[in-house]
């Protein structure tokens, strides 16, 4: 019996040693991949940071309203944020690649799904970036048009334009990421509907006097009295 116990123990130890012998090279392989991955990710980050600085990415981003948002939440600049994001995505990719080398059952599936998720993540970021740019552009266009047309509360109009575009873009990005897409769509529809209803009520009820004054002014102009009172227009050219 003792003999049998000893032989079992030796066999088990032998198997463990063999497993360790099989595992150690893979582990070393993983370590090499992770370290090389870190170096590559670091180089990528440094290169990207330099390129973004030369391209004055912060300046480009400045008008989207994002820097104010970042400063408010004590986050670094847009250039730093994008560089760090690329670093972590690249390094995480290498870490997962390294882990998959270990041959642990089930890990490969997760690694594959991570790499499958990356294109969607980049697409969502792409949508978000250009959406923020569009929000900035159109809100500024609305502000300038409002001021030059002497409309009341142009900043409010501009803010509403910005909010609607960001809301729309945000819902598109979440849809792309497939994160609670239904909830996001329902929330977007509710918010957008409520906003439109609110605006309709605000302009319909609150603006009726303004509309009356506008129409009165418009039709009064046609009368002979008004034409006598009419002021000369500015002639810029």
């Amino acid at each position: 019996m003792w003999q049998s116990f000893i032989s079992e123990l030796v066999r088990t130890l032998d198997e463990i040693l063999r497993s360790v012998a099989r595992f150690v090279p893979r582990f070393l392989e993983m370590l090499v991949i992770v370290v090389v991955g870190w170096v590559i990710a670091f180089v990528l980050k440094t290169l990207l940071r330099s390129v973004l600085k030369i391209a004055r990415f912060d300046k480009l981003f400045e008008h989207t309203g994002a820097p104010q948002l970042l400063r408010g939440t004590a986050l670094p600049s847009s250039t730093e944020l994008v560089s760090r994001f690329v670093f972590w995505v690249a390094w995480l990719g290498f870490i997962l690649l390294g882990v998959s080398v270990l041959g642990v059952v089930g890990i490969e599936e997760h690694v594959a799904s991570f790499f499958g998720f990356l294109p969607r993540l980049f697409a969502a970021l792409f949508i978000l970036f250009f959406g923020l740019l569009a929000a900035s552009f159109f809100s500024r266009a609305a502000l300038l048009s409002g001021v030059n047309a002497d409309l009341p509360s142009p900043r409010l109009i501009s803010l509403a334009v910005r909010a609607m575009i960001i809301l729309f873009v945000g819902s598109m990005a979440f849809e792309e990421l497939r994160i609670s897409s239904r909830t996001v769509i329902v929330a977007f529809s509710l918010t957008f509907g409520a906003l439109m209803l609110g605006l309709a009520l605000a302009f319909g009820l609150g603006g009726k006097d303004l509309a009356r004054r506008f129409l009165e002014k418009r039709f009064e102009r046609e009368g002979p009295e008004a034409s006598r009172e009419r002021e000369d227009e500015l002639s810029p050219l």
Partner: protein, 421 residues
């Protein structure tokens, strides 16, 4: 592949029927039915009176009028001349009306006219605005004669109301004079003439494919002629009547003037940054150029819109202006209407900072131009206040002083042009 032309096949056929000409007179139009008939008749009378032996053609380039403008041009072209019984045509005077593609745009009309002038090998070409209701047959001679005497470009000088052309007097003329060293009173001409060779040079420009080739093109081509040091002359045409309903869309006017001016500064930076000798542009027959009839302009509204613009556009101005200029503007906005003055120095600095921001494209360029509108209203308020009781000479002195201020502030522009904001 044949070379692409802006001229339609039908129009080319009509031009080929005309053959080579000595003079081409063109009237761009868009819904100008009320005035164009009179203008075309005056042009016919002018051509037959002053250039009876020249082979001439009148071309109307229309942007798609719906008020029968083209029919009126054709009718005016065949109507009997009532101006003088002893005026007789020695040659056939052709008249053609064509409609260009792409909707109304003065630049496209001008492109069509220049291409037609090039095709017909015209020796002299005049463009006359259909809104020039005070036109006399003599205008044709005053515009075209200098071309036959060897000038490349003839620009107009009018007798205008002292409150007319505020953007030209407060922005375009002072900048064009300070940067391009030329005293051209109407750098954005409505009525002007040029030689056949100049038409060819105009046609070779790349501007036709750009936004400046659609609007404000006349200003662009004038500045190009100044930079190219062509032989320029200014012709006094007489009174330019104030339109009954002037185009008061200040934003579009700003795009056509400041937008084109800033764009030209970007293009010709190497030219204006180096010292230049003044380009001579003598004025033929010039007379006092300001009339003083009373006008009812709402200055109070100009002031209100300036104050409103300063408060509402703060985030936009922060991107464009230096903090010193912005703070000074905010201080002005806090003043009451009675004490408000937008000083010439500050106005010059403001405009120069806008042009540098346009050069660096700190935000969308069209947005930069639009943001200048409320500030211009403030400057217009000051100009109207300063010259309310002024005589023609005092108005002239005011404009002269503004030009000197722009010239004096030019080193500031050079300093901020390449500076990183």
């Amino acid at each position: 592949m044949p070379e692409e032309s802006i001229l339609s096949d039908d129009f080319i056929r009509e031009l080929m029927n005309v053959g080579e000409v000595d003079i081409l007179v063109a009237v761009p139009s868009y819904n100008d039915g009320q005035t164009i008939g009179k203008v075309v008749q005056a042009l016919r009378a002018g051509l037959l009176t002053y250039f009876p032996r020249a082979r001439s053609v009148i071309i109307n380039a229309d942007g798609g009028s719906r008020d029968g403008t083209q029919d009126l041009v054709r009718a005016a072209s065949i109507s009997d001349l009532s101006v003088s019984a002893d005026v007789h045509a020695l040659r056939t005077l052709h008249s053609i009306s064509t409609q260009y593609e792409g909707g109304p745009a003065s630049g496209v009309a001008l492109h069509t006219i220049v291409a037609a002038a090039d095709l017909l090998q015209a020796k002299a070409c005049a463009v006359v605005s259909p809104e020039s209701t005070t036109i006399e047959p003599e205008w044709v001679e005053r515009l075209l004669r200098p071309v036959f005497e060897g000038k490349d470009l003839v620009l107009p000088v009018y007798r205008r109301h002292k409150f007319d052309g505020l953007l030209i007097r407060n922005l375009v003329y002072p900048i064009a004079r300070a940067l391009y060293a030329s005293k051209i009173r109407e750098p954005y001409p409505a009525d002007f003439a040029f030689s056949g060779s100049t038409a060819g040079q105009f046609l070779a420009q790349s501007v036709w494919a750009q936004e400046e080739g659609r609007r404000g093109t006349e200003l662009w081509l004038t500045l190009w002629a100044v930079v190219s040091r062509l032989k320029l002359v200014q012709a006094f045409l007489g009174t330019k009547a104030r339109l009954e309903n002037p185009r008061s869309d200040l934003v579009n006017a700003m795009r056509e003037t400041a937008g084109v001016l800033f764009c030209s500064m970007d293009c010709y930076a190497s030219f204006w940054r180096s010292p230049q000798e003044t380009l001579e542009a003598p004025c033929v027959g010039c007379q006092p150029a300001v009339s003083l009839e009373p006008l009812r302009l709402n200055r109070k509204r100009l002031h209100q819109m300036f104050v409103f613009g300063i408060s509402e556009l703060e985030p936009v101005f922060l991107s464009i202006l230096s903090s010193a200029t912005h703070n000074e503007l905010k201080r002005l906005a806090a003043l009451s209407e009675e004490t408000f003055v937008y000083p010439a120095e500050l106005w010059a600095r403001t405009v120069y900072e806008f042009s540098a921001a346009y050069h660096k494209a700190v935000i969308g360029r069209d947005h930069i131009v639009q943001a200048l509108v409320p500030l211009f209203r403030g400057r217009a308020y000051t100009f109207l206040t300063e010259t309310r009781e002024a005589s023609a000479e005092e108005v002239e002195n005011n404009i002269e002083s503004l030009c000197h201020t722009f010239e004096g502030e030019k080193p500031y522009l050079v300093e901020i042009w390449d500076e990183r904001k």
